[in-house]
Every structure is written in structure tokens, then in C-alpha cells.
Amino acid sequence: MGNSRLTALLAALALCAIALFAAGCGDDDDDGAGGGDGGGGQTLTVGSDVPYPPFEQFGESKTEFTGFDVELVEAVAEKLGREAKFVDTSFDTIFRDLAQGKFDMVASATTITPEREKTVDFSDPYYLAEQAILVKEGSDVKSAEDLADMTVGVQQGTTGQEYVEEETEAGEVRPYPEGPDMVTPLRGGTIDAAVLDIPVAEKLAESQPGIEVSAEIKTGEEYGLVVQQGEEDLLDEVNEALQEIKDDGTLNDLYEKWLEVEAPQELLSATHEAS
């Protein structure tokens, strides 16, 4: 190989390395176009961990998203006069990325917790979350107490995980990257039960053979949209938009479309004080 060809090859390799490095700078699965310039302009970039049906899931293709959260955010954005652009991000780094300004907002079935409020700000609640216990068909696990000494699957970084770890006597807690990852272990018998948000659990039970929802756990949790701490103006705008969506019936429509129930009355007037 002549000298110039060798140089060209090395240059190409170096370019590839740089490109890979730049692209991989976060360890998130950046499938959408990364916005990164939070706060300004028409686009509202939103981080979300896809899939987590029925809140966020893939549409016709891997670059289109749809679901409860997605349509809710699109409605909010419209009220703000902006266009929503979603970025698929792994849940366990999503808050860090928000703090670093990778997106303006996070909409990812996120429960409002005091822990999280230390580092981010939440909007008013838009969903009342309850957990469900998902089991293999015919299982004896029928309540939170039954989880004692069992091997329980949860999704990493969620409040479902927190609940199981702190409020039950589960034997072993296994954090999985995605909800759907727990289906095969449930059916295979390597985990005894899985704890997930009710709609997600129900969707999985519906679409996957051999598993069923055996119980619900009322945890009193609420979902909120998440913004960077200190973004007061954005937060106010979002809350205003949310209230409008609740008042004009859009939220109820979303509830019926994606969750097949009516929106609870208490939710429609619930507000949340940023702390």
C-alpha cells in the first residue's frame, strides 16, 4: 500500500473514531434528533424512555413516537406555540441529561417524588399512578404481602423499584432496563412477579400470552412533566397549558383513548407546588 493510501486510511479511521466519540458522549440511546439547545426557539425538545406503553411507544417506525405522554406533550406544546420533538433516552440517565441541558423537558411516566424534587422541578400532576403486580398465569401471588421472599422484577430507576425495595419483604429485587424485558423471565419462572405501572402491566398482560395482572397496589403517586430546576417561566407556561387541557376535556380524551378509563375527578383540579 502506497504512502498516500495509508495516510488516507488512517485519516478515515481517525474521523470515524472522532464521530463515534462525539455521538456516544452520553450513554443514552439517541434515536431522535438531539436538540440540545434547551430553552430557546420554536422546538420543545422532550426526553422520554421509549417504549413504556401506553405512555410512550413506537409508532409506524422506530423514529416515530406515540402514546399518552407523547400526545399530552404535543397538546401542551401547541398551547405554547411550539413544536415538540422527542428524544429517546434511557431512564437511568434521563435526569442527568436534563440537568445538562440536553432537552427542555422530560415526559416519561415520571412519578413526582421529594427525592427527585431536590434536583428537578415538576409540573402539576397529569396522571395518578398505581402499581400492578404482573405474574405468570395461575400464580399464587395476589398481593403486596405475597411478594415476601419472592424474586421480583422491576424497571430500573422507577418508583415501582422503590416501592418493592422499601415497602415489601421481597427476597430479591431484579432491576431490568425495560418493562417488556420482564415478560420472558416471568413466563420462564426465573422471576415470581413483576411490579409495573397499571396501564403498562395491563398492556403487557393483554398482548403477551401466559401472564396476567393479579393485584393493584395503591401508592398515591402522581406523574408530572419535568423541567430543569430554575426554569420558572417554562414551568408556569406548562402548568397553564395543563390546566387548559384538563378544563377543555383533552386530558379526559387521552385517558379514554390510551387507558380506557375516565380521568379521575381529583386529578382535574390537582396542582403541585414546586419546592
Binding site: 427527585r116 424474586t151 430500573q156 430507576g157
Partner: protein, 247 residues
């Protein structure tokens, strides 16, 4: 820069979660040792099967080469997922399909199985180069003295071959140890998973950094040890014509 220090080097957070990360790392160690030892044996078995002489044993050689090619060709992550996903559904007794031996969960043993069958293939090739590197005259001398193939391998060739390839085998072992982090994908609470767990609930990656440091505590001395072994081998056994000293 401050963000980096805060996100990755928060010392108080590291102190707070030290026990958890250490517990995860302890599982890493157990997994590496069990899988590593098994892979070292399995690799040697494969290497020996691969070079059994004679026409009637050709199917054995063929199957062994096929095995080695397949398991060097499929990424370990996929093997872990395939093993853990399929074993519970196979028509075998549950104590094997969902192993819970010696107090370790099934995810641990799926990890052991995946690591062993994959790294065994890599190590088999290392052993092979060791065996082929033993001078041909050794086998001739052994056979001429009346030893059959098995005796010659066991007493003359394999001891020399193994001694030669200790450095690359150790390097493969270090690689295996790092690859145990892949088993986190089936929710085994080893060091990487613990780090990510902390990261996702506290939005700080310092526990991961702590885990990485624990890895270095083990892998750095191992790497220096390998270097010393290589230097020693160069001084010791000569190749080709014997060294002739006066005396």
C-alpha cells in the same frame, strides 16, 4: 469541569454507597473466578479435542472447530440473552433449567454458562498456539520412546504448551472479568448494575466511578503480573536448537 467532578467524583456519595458497590463487586469477583476457572479447563479440553489424530476422529475435530468458530463469532451479550431466555423453557429438569446452586441465583449461573462457553472458545485458540509452538522434536522424542499420543500430550507437550501461553491466558481472564458487567443485562446485581441503579435513583454517576476503581484494583496488578511472566518466559525456555554452554 465542576459538573464532571460533581457527577462522577462525589466522594460523600461514594462513601454512602460503598457497601452496596462492594457487594456488587464481590458478585463480580465470584462470577469471574467461577467462570474463569471453568473457561480455562473447557478451553484446554477443546484444544485437545481439536488436534486428536487419526481419520476415525475427524468428526470430533470438525465439531470442535465448528464450536470454536461459532462461539468466537457471536457477541457475548447475545449469548447471555439467548442462554437466559431459552433455558427455562427447555425440556430439562428445573434444577438445571433454573439453576440456584450454592446460594447463587439463576442469573449468576446463566452468566457463568455464557461466559464459560464463549471464553472457552477463545482460550482454546490460545492453547492451540501454545501446543503448536512446542518444537516438533518433542513429540518425536516422546513417540520414539514408546509413548502413545495421549501420554505424549499429557507428559510432554501440554505442560510446555501451557507454560508458554500463561500471559495470553491471563489477558483473556482479565477480559472475562470485565465482560462480567454484560451479565447486568439480565438483572444480576454485579458492580455495573449497582452503579447504574444508584445513578438512576440519585442522578449521579459516582457509584459507577467507584465500581470502575474497584476493577482497577484487581486488573492493574494482574496486568503487571502478566508482564513479569512474559519477561520470565523469555529468559527461561529456549526455542529451537538447545543452548550450548561449556561445562
Amino acid at each position: 469541569m465542576d459538573v464532571i467532578l460533581e457527577q462522577y467524583f462525589d466522594l460523600s456519595l461514594m462513601a454512602e454507597h460503598f457497601d452496596d458497590v462492594l457487594a456488587g463487586f464481590w458478585i463480580t469477583i465470584k462470577l469471574s473466578v467461577v467462570a474463569g476457572v471453568l473457561a480455562l479447563f473447557w478451553g484446554l479440553v477443546l484444544a485437545l479435542l481439536r488436534q486428536l489424530p487419526g481419520k476415525p476422529l475427524m468428526p470430533v475435530r470438525f465439531l470442535t472447530i465448528a464450536y470454536i468458530d461459532v462461539f468466537r463469532g457471536i457477541p457475548l451479550l447475545m449469548i447471555i440473552l439467548l442462554v437466559s431466555g431459552s433455558l427455562p423453557f427447555l425440556p430439562i429438569p428445573e434444577s438445571i433449567a433454573i439453576p440456584r446452586w450454592f446460594g447463587q441465583p439463576d442469573t449468576f449461573w446463566y452468566g457463568v454458562i455464557a461466559l464459560t462457553i464463549t471464553y472457552g472458545a477463545y482460550m482454546a485458540e490460545v492453547y492451540r498456539s501454545g501446543i503448536e509452538g512446542v518444537p516438533g522434536g518433542q513429540m518425536e522424542a516422546a513417540r520414539s520412546l514408546g509413548m502413545n499420543h495421549r501420554q505424549a500430550m499429557r507428559n510432554v507437550i501440554v505442560p510446555q504448551a501451557v507454560r508458554r501461553v500463561i500471559p495470553p491466558l491471563l489477558n483473556d481472564y482479565i477480559a472475562l472479568m470485565k465482560d462480567t458487567t454484560l451479565v447486568s443485562v439480565i438483572a444480576l446485581n454485579e458492580a455495573a448494575l449497582v452503579g447504574r441503579d444508584v445513578q438512576s435513583s440519585l442522578f449521579n454517576s459516582s457509584a459507577l466511578t467507584l465500581g470502575a476503581i474497584m476493577f482497577l484494583v484487581v486488573t492493574l496488578p494482574l496486568a503487571r503480573f502478566v508482564d513479569r511472566q512474559i519477561a520470565r518466559e523469555h529468559r527461561r525456555f529456549s526455542r529451537g536448537a538447545p543452548r550450548v554452554e561449556t561445562g
